[in-house]
């Protein structure tokens, strides 16, 4: 699958590496033309205000990723990416509004409160000035929680994480969203 990683600002490289480790063709998206042939989408972490402004300057790119999401392409949004696709942010309307959740930016505090943690299901979490999901819509499933609070959610083909699965060696989230092209090609399932 050709996976496009939104590359306006932020932690792009770890997502590109994760997609390629699963045998996908990963491309960086900066312009509308970059989205040609893209079938899956990653919105990476970074600073959501910076990403939002850069996306506003690229209406063609915004339309292209909007179309992808509405067609039901698999989407993974982590941290600032989750903020971009959330319907509601800090009590106001979100930017792309695809995912029916409300988030609070920097919900844990400043960088000093950034942490490594273990999710309720044992998965390793890296939380960096992370947003918190404060409301989950009826069509949204909580896939993973930390002390009962959602940190990974799914709504159809849209997956949003408050943490950074791309910063750990654990590829399970990327595999759950985009599949494993190597396994499909019979190359084995030793992805972790």
């Amino acid at each position: 699958m050709r996976v496009g990683v939104l590359a306006l600002q932020g932690g792009v490289a770890p997502h590109v590496a994760a997609a390629r480790a699963l045998g996908h063709d990963a491309v960086e998206l900066r312009r509308a033309a970059d989205a040609r042939g893209v079938e899956g989408l990653v919105l990476p972490g970074g600073e959501s205000t910076a990403q939002r402004r850069l996306l506003a300057a690229q209406p063609g790119l915004r339309d292209a990723i909007d179309r992808l999401a509405r067609w039901g392409a698999p989407v993974l949004a982590t941290c600032a990416g989750l903020v971009l696709i959330a319907r509601e942010v800090d009590g106001g309307p979100g930017t792309l509004g695809w995912l029916d959740v409300a988030v609070r930016r920097n919900g844990w505090g400043r960088q000093r409160d950034s942490a490594e943690a273990v999710a309720d299901d044992g998965a390793p979490l890296v939380l960096i000035r992370a947003p918190r999901i404060v409301r989950v819509g009826p069509a949204v499933e909580v896939v993973r929680a930390l002390a009962g609070e959602p940190v990974l959610v799914r709504q159809g083909a849209l997956v949003g994480a408050t943490y950074h699965p791309e910063l750990t060696a654990d590829l399970r989230v990327h595999r759950a969203v985009f599949g494993d092209a190597r396994a499909e090609a019979g190359a084995g399932a030793d992805v972790q």
Partner: protein, 293 residues
Amino acid sequence: MQKSTYATKIGLAEMLKGGVIMDVVDADQARVAEEAGAAAVMALERVPAQIRAEGGVARASDPSRIEAIQRAVTIPVMAKCRIGHLMEARVLEALEVDFIDESEVLTPADLAHHVDKHAFEVPFVCGCTDLGEALRRIAEGAAMLRTKGEAGTGDVSQAVTHLRKIEAQLRRLGGLEPEQLVAEARTLGAPLELVRQVAAEGRLPVPRFAAGGIATPADAALCMHLGAEAVFVGSGIFLSSDPPRRARAIVEAVTHWRDPRALAEASRGLGEAMRGTEASGLAPEARLAGRGA
């Protein structure tokens, strides 16, 4: 839950990649920077060019100034401490700044040592001019490196020199045999373990940003081309004639640095850049890059 691990420190540096970190001296400038798309701001009392012009001892900023900037924006707020001044660093940590820049732009407090950055919960960025200096700062716990360049000049040549030197030294390291690494570590003045790690992985273990003299969108793009993963802009924005416009243009340039047409668009009609000073014409005592090697 384990707070402030090395992974979370490097993680924040990772999230600032492809971004612009802008020097600001008050809440109004901080808001302009955030609105322009800055990935973070550096809270200061004076930008480097003012420090250069006014002279005197340059110290960490007044906490009330930093707090006013923290209240004004939601993006990360960084602040500078003097090289080796672990108590200024403790003050900045108590203020919960998001990153501390142990900076040669301020007057060094310790002429022989840097801060033990492992001992802090807040991540540190440090300046470097070559690979040895970079690895010494990483050994002390820095989670991000930036070139020193020559701050406050508006002349990008020193940042370019430092980026090229580090890149050449990284490439050289990759070509060495294992038995050559001990001698190379001694030449670089860097810990052997780090030298071995960098030789094996072919890259630094922390993000590498550019700083020092960046004044135009093309300057920022040049630094990205030379291997920088993000840029700091100090005096270059708020000493120019149209700071909001120049700030937006440099943000665009860092994202679209591979696209000359986008760079041309970003560079158009920005008004006057900061006037600046040619770095090669500076007297030795006016050069900041030699501080705290």
